[in-house]
Symmetry: C2
Subunit: 176 residues, 2 copies
């Protein structure tokens, strides 16, 4: 029921969560990003019960993030590899890692992103693909598109109006 509700929302965040919005699924994707593909490897890496793991893997296959394919016959064994949709989830994972490293790496870093061309540690930041400007709270906001629900449109338009009022107030203060 929960699942249906989320998918029925026009919000792209809700729909995205509908596909992966669950701890185990995201940890399975994390492992897939660093090359884990076989059932027993996932099981060992995650310490998850086999029936639970099977359910999550199937869920990710159904959602289109993983592809299941045989890697041996007699007996047949499958591996789970990222599809294009699954690979495109990587920025979400990296943004989660960056946030986790900033706030919860109390014993030092367990994992970090490296540019392998020269080995430097990377601080990943969201930017505008076209201008290269970083995305900031001051300059950027969500706007409703044609497929927005009424509720969402109202909410976003209120936010846009509030931001405009704040900017106007700040400009007035600066002039005074």
């Amino acid at each position: 029921m929960k699942k249906t509700n989320l998918d029925e929302m026009p919000c792209p965040i809700a729909r995205a969560l509908d596909r992966v919005g669950e701890w185990w699924s995201i940890l399975i994707l994390r492992d897939a990003f660093y090359g884990v593909s076989r059932f027993d490897e996932f099981e060992k890496s995650l310490g998850i019960a086999p029936n639970m793991l099977a359910r999550r893997l199937n869920g990710l296959v159904e959602a289109g993030l993983l592809e299941r394919r045989p890697y041996q016959t007699k007996p047949v064994r499958y591996e789970y590899v990222l599809t294009d949709m699954g690979r495109d989830f990587r920025p979400v994972m990296l943004a989660l890692m960056t946030w986790g490293n900033k706030y919860f790496a109390t014993e030092g870093l367990a994992m970090f992103l490296v540019d392998e061309r020269d080995g430097h540690m990377v601080d990943a930041v969201l930017t505008d693909r076209h201008t290269g400007d970083p995305i900031t709270r001051e300059n950027h906001a969500m706007y409703p598109g044609p497929a927005a629900s009424e509720r969402m449109r109202t909410r976003l338009e209120n936010n846009i109006a509030r931001r405009a009022a704040e900017r106007a107030a700040a400009a007035m203060e600066k002039r005074a």
Copy 2:
């Protein structure tokens, strides 16, 4: 039990999920990003049962992403506003939105990111803060840090070795 397990993992993704790894919590944060702050507004926006909403809001306050503060007395009423930690979650949300828009916006966009300085629609991409280079699968990989568990270190090192072997094979092929 699940909660404890995740927080005990050294992985920054697991720890991040421990704080927010649940649909409702992330949708609450989404609403907070566009200015929702009061209990009844969240309730209306999300169509969530009050006891469920109260539990999630308290969870986000305890985890340090939201701050609860009174906005009126007699009767006292509280609003929930993002802390610095909560605001820093925004790139995760934007990365989720980008991914959701790419794959699930079947009726057109419901929501998109705008640079309000000139009104252009933004395609948000993860880049290296220092070089400005986009993060790619070819050039970037996760490396284990000092706080990695043995299992995590092995997994990441295997991945790094596999990538090096693939690069070497590609270079050989190019020369041949």
